[in-house]
């Protein structure tokens, strides 16, 4: 641990109580217990009221966040024999790679739980004869309401968080896989039951589920192939071995299977088609979790299961991977210039950002990997921020269609407007905001890739990625012009309410802090990166 970050960690460590592995109990058990409790209570004839559910759920997410913070500072190691006949132990072992993602998950979890679920309703019909005038719509209530199935909704959120935390903490490949799969059913319920009723939410949910399950089945095949070659499922042993027990052919096959499986999850062009649709349909909290946490499982999987485990296979596929990542950047940025649905537009911009992450991973250099890990976390924060804003706007407007004439957000909802400007500016890679470091780092790393990568191709990718970055500015300007700027004040929509304000301030502050002091995060991931690419 280098310099200031290391000293800060030591100072903080002196303050926190030494709970050891009990931090895990604090991080995981509240989520599990509250989820079970809410599932049980939700089945009663008279379900519990909104306040009970919301506060109980918030308490669980908050306690879990405290536990995760403790885990991040203390980094205890838990090893329990779990499935002896398969040699699987329930081992939780956070390191420099997983700690930032754990903190991100805990934070986004609190934000997603705090957001109110709005009752599902059909989109408001536009009166035909008033289409060219300024209709004054009734102001919808934005605070929480008693929505049917609220307890189940919160239970699903908690299980998603639980699964993501287990996956990031896991020190065993099969435990990672089980955490990875645990998020699927609750996420499916969130989209299918609480999604936008104006769209085909069951179709979107099923598409999400089938695509991700195909992905995770392929990941399982890859894991089992490595496990049968090495005779263990311990991730630390896999990384230490570095693919020595697999021949070149097996490395290529395993890397291909794992990259396709994880590429469906990340998602990498051309496997990304499910993402915009699901984002457009999911409830706000679902979108926030999907963008900020679930997509990270894919990139985390690449760094954990592919990069150190089958280095030769990954090196062989990385030019193709980088090419697809860059194609995704340019393609998604172009789509963002014409997309008419605001929520789907943000989803497309996610595809572009993850293209930069994939490019950084594929370069095979320490700088590239650092940039990718940084970009990963930065994208989590920025997309969570943008989805909170956009989800709120969609609820207020009744739809997220950009073709409709609406009041300028700057005029009627200045707080939401400010958050939107901040989020879009960060998303366009403005220096001083978080995303910048990830993107510039990826482009620079692609200009000078590792020795075994084709330099000419990667330089071309770097240029294309830079062009994609410029396109990001263009679509940012488009969004701000269509949504934020202007002088229309009708129909009025209410500004951010308390939970949204708090969430946006928190996320916005972190975007700024990471943008101004990137070493805070780079210092945490550096030891891991040096460990992986020292060989």
């Amino acid at each position: 641990m280098s310099g200031a970050a290391g000293r800060m960690r030591e100072d903080l460590l002196a303050l926190v109580p030494d709970l050891g592995v009990w931090w895990y109990a604090l991080a995981l058990l509240p989520l599990l217990l509250v989820a079970l409790l809410l599932l049980g209570l939700g089945r009663r004839r008279v379900p519990p009221g909104r306040r009970v559910v919301h506060r109980g759920s918030m308490a669980a997410a908050g306690l879990s966040a405290v536990g995760v913070a403790g885990v991040a500072l203390d980094r205890p190691v838990l090893e329990l024999s779990w499935i002896p006949s398969l040699g699987v132990s329930f081992s939780l072992r956070p390191d420099g790679l997983s700690v930032p993602l754990l903190l991100l998950t805990a934070l986004v979890g609190v934000v997603a739980t705090a957001l109110h679920l709005h009752p599902a309703r059909e989109p408001r019909p536009e009166p035909v004869d008033l289409a060219d005038t300024d209709p004054t719509s009734p102001i919808p209530v934005v605070r929480g309401q008693d929505v049917p199935g609220l307890a189940t909704y919160h239970a699903c959120l908690q299980v998603v968080l639980l699964g993501a935390l287990v996956a990031f903490l896991a020190g065993d490949a099969l435990v990672f896989f089980i955490g990875f799969e645990l998020v699927l059913v609750p996420m499916w319920v969130l989209v299918a039951r609480y999604g936008d009723p104006g769209s085909d939410r069951e179709g979107a949910a099923l598409r999400f589920l089938l695509v991700t399950v195909v992905g995770s089945s392929l990941v399982l095949l890859g894991i089992l192939a490595v496990a049968s070659a090495t005779g263990t499922t311990d991730l630390a042993l896999w990384a230490a071995e570095g693919g020595a027990s697999l021949g070149r052919g097996s490395q290529l096959a395993v890397a291909a299977v794992l990259l396709v499986g994880l590429g469906l999850k990340i998602p990498v062009f051309p496997l990304h088609t499910w993402l915009p649709w699901v984002h457009a349909t999911a409830p706000t909290a679902g979108s926030v979790l999907l963008a900020a946490v679930l997509l990270k499982l894919g990139t985390y999987g690449v760094v954990r299961l592919v990069l150190p485990v089958v280095p030769e296979g990954f090196a062989a596929w990385s030019p193709l991977l980088a090419g697809l990542g860059v194609t995704g950047i340019v393609w998604a940025s172009l789509v963002c210039l014409v997309e008419r649905d605001l929520k789907r537009l943000i989803a497309w911009s996610s595809v572009a950002h993850l293209g930069f992450v994939v490019l950084g991973l594929a370069t095979g250099t320490q700088a590239g990997l650092q940039a990718a890990l940084f970009g990963n976390v930065a994208h989590g924060l920025v997309s969570a921020l943008l989805f909170v804003v956009v989800g709120g706007l969609k609820h207020r407007w009744g739809s997220a269609d950009l073709g409709r004439r609406r009041a300028a957000v700057r005029e009627v909802a200045p707080r939401l407007g400010l958050a939107l400007v901040l989020g879009m500016a960060a998303s366009s890679g403005l220096p001083g905001l978080a995303v910048f470091w990830g993107e510039i780092g990826s482009v620079l790393a692609a200009w000078g890739p590792a020795a075994d990568r084709p330099e000419g191709w990667f330089r071309g990718f770097a240029v294309l990625a830079a062009v994609g970055g410029a396109l990001a500015v263009a679509y940012t300007v488009r969004v701000l012009r269509e949504v934020w700027a202007g002088d229309r004040v009708e129909p009025r929509v209410p500004d951010a309410e308390l939970t949204e304000r708090t969430a946006l301030r928190l996320l916005g502050l972190l975007v700024l802090v990471l943008g101004l002091a990137p070493t805070l995060l780079l210092g945490v991931t550096a030891p891991f990166v040096e460990g992986v690419l020292a060989r």
Partner: protein, 489 residues
Amino acid sequence: MSLELGLVSVLPVLAPVAAAVLVLLLDVAVPGRREPHLVLGAGGLVAGLLGALPGLGLGAGEARSALCLPGGWCAYRADHLVSALQVCALGAALVVLVLTWRDWAAPGPDGGPEGTGRAPVVTALLLAATAGVVAVPASGDLGSLLVSLELATLPTVALVALVRTTWAADRRARAVDGAVSLLTTSLVSFGLLALGAALWVAATGSTRFDGRAQVDHPQLIVLAAVLLVAGLAFKVSAVPFHAWTPITYAAAPLPVTAYLATVSKVAALGGLVVVVRALGPVDGATLVAVAVLAAASMTVGNLVALVQQDTVRLLAWSTIAQAGWVLLPLASLSAQAASAAGSYLVVYVTATVLAFVVLTAVVAVSPSARATSLESQRGLLRTHPLLALPLALALLTLAGLPPAVAGVVAKIVALRPVLGDDTWWLALVAAVNIALGLAVYLRWVAVLLAPTPTEAGPPPSRVPARLWALTGVLTALLVVGSVLPVGAL
């Protein structure tokens, strides 16, 4: 030549057989009574279960044998895996007996006993079939294998056909149809089995499975194994020997369907395990025939299950798909593969039995005439949460998706030998089928989760206590299996 008996070890087989005989004797002693037969039958199954339980504690290489010759060969040999299969079969048979209790103890059309004297007959048939199932995996030679397989199969034909005389005539006719298709397929497959057995004897010169058979013609023994596998594939209802399954499942009474879908499968898999273990000399080879059967079964089963509108038919086709999963590890002939298939089967049987128990309960409480249709279960989670949650757990176990970790671990165990062999094409087919299977089972779960239709039906009737008890026990088994998975047996 002295034969060493070891009757205590054979108790899992002897107890149901003895109970079957006693049931028939009892019928002579007290004709017209119905409940005592069922009690006696349950007693026989419980005694068999208790007799098999000690086998679960056996370590590697240990076995409980009986009917042994001085040379060390035994006609009956139950090790850890075999005992687990026996416990699974006897437990599932017991559940089926409890499920069908009300039906078999029901009076005939005029309030008196059924004119056919049905209760003792069906009880004896169930016990006989179960004894056959339990004997299959422990059999030590071809003769015992074939005889016990037929003992496991033929009584089930009668079980399908012997429905209550109070049923409508067309429904009874359909039950006979189902029985006939089961009978026809079983005869054809017995022909294959006999041919395989003959080739086996020709190849090894012995009917005994002693693991170290002198192989003169390796090609011949592989051909024999393929024929034996094809004969057994009918019982496990693998494609293309599956045609009887949807017809028979939909025609038979629900508990008998549950029996066919669970206990009978143990016999088939037990037979496969015996064959695979006896093939020790050609260990390590990949049996392409089994791989093709497995891939075809899961794909066809899942694709057809996707469009079913009736839950029993959906379960029937899902059985075919799951048969593919059971066969999957056996494509690589090894001891690890046999235990993987056994472990998968135990999880599958538990989940399927639970699904059938819940289905029986739903039929008991549902006012609608077509209670097994998918549509009539819309909103079950709201109307009967305590039935819907176990059902959802069972379906997720079959699909292999957390929170039902037991199902995930079973899938992992089944896939491991395949990847150990580098049979990538089969592994990829299996991966696609995980997604397909998920689509099948989640279609059902989505119906359970859907909002309740608003129509106010008649007040729902109560679920019988015995069904609650069964649901509770089986759900507890799956939950424990998810928290502390056993993995490979």
